[in-house]
């Protein structure tokens, strides 16, 4: 089968238009990070005429950016680790055992998505205050772990389902316990699933704004999204140059990890949704 040449050209034009719309805002951000404040408004859409690194220098030396970056990295790393630790056994139980309430799981998964941030944050606020976890990174880590858990369990269950039970049964005859067979047999075969969960909880914890905004009280404890919002909001006039540089620096590490891991996340998410 062939397509009419004119139709095929139109197809390419439309796709390229979409690509320009998707890329253009990011390109503007990149350009602005290398422009002086005067040039940003003299030529909002142009390529930087003389590349300046002042914006980056300013962000790195005259703001708390590096501290906030470290906070974000710590929170993300811990959330990814904890999500896997909690979700792997639960996903395994869902995949291998039968128990009451098992069918409730997918309902619960959707229901947690619908919990409004304001209710959760008001409830958590009291709890975090009681345990002196307000304005601390562990407070955020615990919250993000609970947010990423439903999807993580669901993703991992999908991957575990694909691993033949026969493999485990052979090991169990040799005296291998359930827990050991999860660690020794199932997990090594579900590395793509773990990467999917890792990518998902990384994005969630690195990008989350609302809870971090409410829980964190001072500059030294902000994560990057809160830092960026405060940086924009402080002092009336927005300094677009340094702000763009900071935003770009805040995106790049996760963008790289996401590009490496998105294949697993996409196949995990769609695999479950299509079945």
């Amino acid at each position: 089968m062939r397509m009419h040449p004119l139709k095929q050209i139109l197809l390419h034009i439309f796709v390229i238009m979409f690509m320009i719309l998707l890329i253009f805002p990011m390109v503007l951000l990149l350009f602005n990070s290398f422009k002086s404040e005067a040039e940003i408004f003299a030529a909002p859409m142009g390529v930087p005429k003389s590349i300046t690194f002042n914006n980056y220098a300013k962000v790195l030396t005259q703001s708390t950016f590096l501290i906030n970056f470290k906070n974000s990295a710590l929170v993300a790393f811990a959330t990814v680790f904890l999500s896997m630790m909690v979700s792997a056994p639960a996903g395994y139980a869902l995949s291998r055992f039968k128990f009451r309430g098992r069918t409730l799981f997918s309902v619960w998964l959707l229901a947690t998505q619908s919990f409004p941030g304001i209710i959760m944050v008001l409830g958590l606020f009291v709890m975090l205050r009681t345990y002196h976890l307000l304005n601390t990174l562990p407070g955020l880590i615990v919250m993000y772990t609970s947010f990423s858990m439903p999807f993580s369990i669901w993703l991992l269950k999908g991957y575990f389902d694909k691993i033949p039970v026969a493999l485990e049964e052979a090991a169990r005859i040799d005296g291998c316990s359930r827990a050991l067979s999860l660690v020794k047999i199932v997990l090594p075969l579900s590395v793509p699933g773990l990467l999917a969960v890792g990518t998902f909880s990384l994005l969630l914890s690195w990008n989350e704004f609302f809870f971090a905004l409410v829980i964190m009280r001072d500059n030294a404890h902000y994560t990057l999204p809160v830092f960026l919002a405060r940086f924009m909001g402080s002092g009336g006039v927005v300094q677009w140059g340094p702000l763009s540089a900071a935003a770009l620096l805040a995106c790049i590490p996760v963008l790289i990890l996401f590009i490496l891991g998105q294949k697993y996340l996409v196949s995990g998410l769609t695999g479950g949704a299509i079945k």
């Binding site: 397509m3 197809l11 390419h12 796709v15 690509m19 998707l22 890329i23 805002p25 990011m26 503007l28 408004f41 909002p44 859409m45 630790m85 909690v86 056994p89 639960a90 139980a93 291998r96 055992f97 039968k98 128990f99 098992r102 959707l110 229901a111 947690t112 998505q113 619908s114 919990f115 304001i118 209710i119 959760m120 008001l122 409830g123 958590l124 709890m127 609970s146 858990m149 369990i153 359930r178 827990a179 994005l203 990008n207 704004f209 609302f210 990057l224 999204p225 960026l228 919002a229 924009m232 702000l243 763009s244 935003a247 995106c251 996760v254 590009i259 998105q262 998410l269 769609t270 949704a273």
Partner: protein, 291 residues
């Protein structure tokens, strides 16, 4: 076949694997939910600095609050337009990316995914720059001959729509990728057979393609509706609900009450209203899936 009734033996074996998740679920999901909801029955009195039980007074307040009604209508427009436009544009893009007549498909798909990784705050600040009165968009409109391009962020009639545009942009990668995955599962022979039988474009869409990806479409629409209704970041960074309250949505109004006006009880009441709206969406989805 296993029996439908789980044996005690099996449940006992499953339990140790479930304990960590159940602990997290109860302590950091269910408990805060209940605690948060219970706040709607209390009010904070600034004079005495005490929190007192007021029963359903916050709910009564809700129904006579014009600003709440405003925020609710804004939220409906914000969610409805965002989800529908995200879906239409993504469906269009996904069918094009799925076409075998498209060159460089892998590259285009790769580009489409990228904005998915960006923090909503960064997306919002990118668009805030684009929409500035003397920003790139108006510069562009000016060069096209528009003498007085509008002030996108400070014009009350436009502010909400400006936020919606940024939100649509943000949702396209996820929806497109999910739809594309659905489209790729359709049997090519089925499409070829239909084409040979002389089915036109619309018949193909309605008779074959949409029914085959119905499940994906339903889950995408449900998740996007929930996420968009709960979305806080975009409006907060772009307009903070302003000018006036032109772009105020429910999550923002709840936040303002709880953390700026010292009315956590009223904030929780608004939250409860959001929860009821969204649980309705979840119930509709489940009914549709079970049918």
């Amino acid at each position: 076949m296993r029996s439908t009734q789980p044996s005690f033996e099996e449940e006992r074996k499953a339990l140790p694997f479930l304990i960590p998740a159940l602990l997290v679920l109860c302590l950091i999901s269910l408990y805060p939910l209940i605690q948060g909801i219970s706040r709607m029955f209390y009010t904070y009195q600034a004079l005495t600095q005490k929190t007192v039980f007021v029963g359903l007074q916050n709910v009564k307040l809700l129904f006579s609050d014009h600003l709440f009604l405003r925020a609710f209508t804004n939220s409906l427009v914000w969610t409805g337009v965002s989800v529908i436009m995200q879906f239409i544009l993504s469906y269009w893009l996904a069918t094009m990316l799925n076409s075998r007549f498209l060159r460089l498909r892998r590259m285009f798909r790769g580009i489409t995914i990228i904005p998915w990784a960006l923090p909503p705050v960064v997306i919002a600040l990118m668009w805030r720059y684009i929409f500035l009165g003397n920003g790139p968009l108006n510069m562009f409109l000016h060069s096209l001959g528009v003498a007085h391009p509008p002030n996108w962020l400070t014009e009350p009639r436009l502010a909400l729509w400006t936020c919606i545009i940024a939100n649509i942009w943000m949702g396209i990668p996820f929806v497109t990728v999910m739809l594309l995955a659905g489209l790729q599962t359709i049997d090519k022979n089925l499409l070829d057979a239909a084409a040979i039988d002389g089915a036109n474009y619309l018949q193909m869409q309605y008779r074959i393609i949409i029914p085959s990806v119905k499940k994906v479409i339903l889950i995408i629409l449900t998740l996007e509706t929930i996420w968009t209704f709960n979305m806080f970041d975009i409006v907060f960074v772009l307009t903070k609900g302003g000018p006036g309250n032109a772009s105020l949505t429910l999550p923002l109004y709840a936040y303002e009450n709880a953390f700026m006006y010292y009315q956590p009880g009223y904030g929780a009441t608004i939250g409860m209203f959001i929860l009821l709206c969204l649980l309705t969406v979840v119930v509709l989805y489940i009914r549709e899936v079970l049918r």
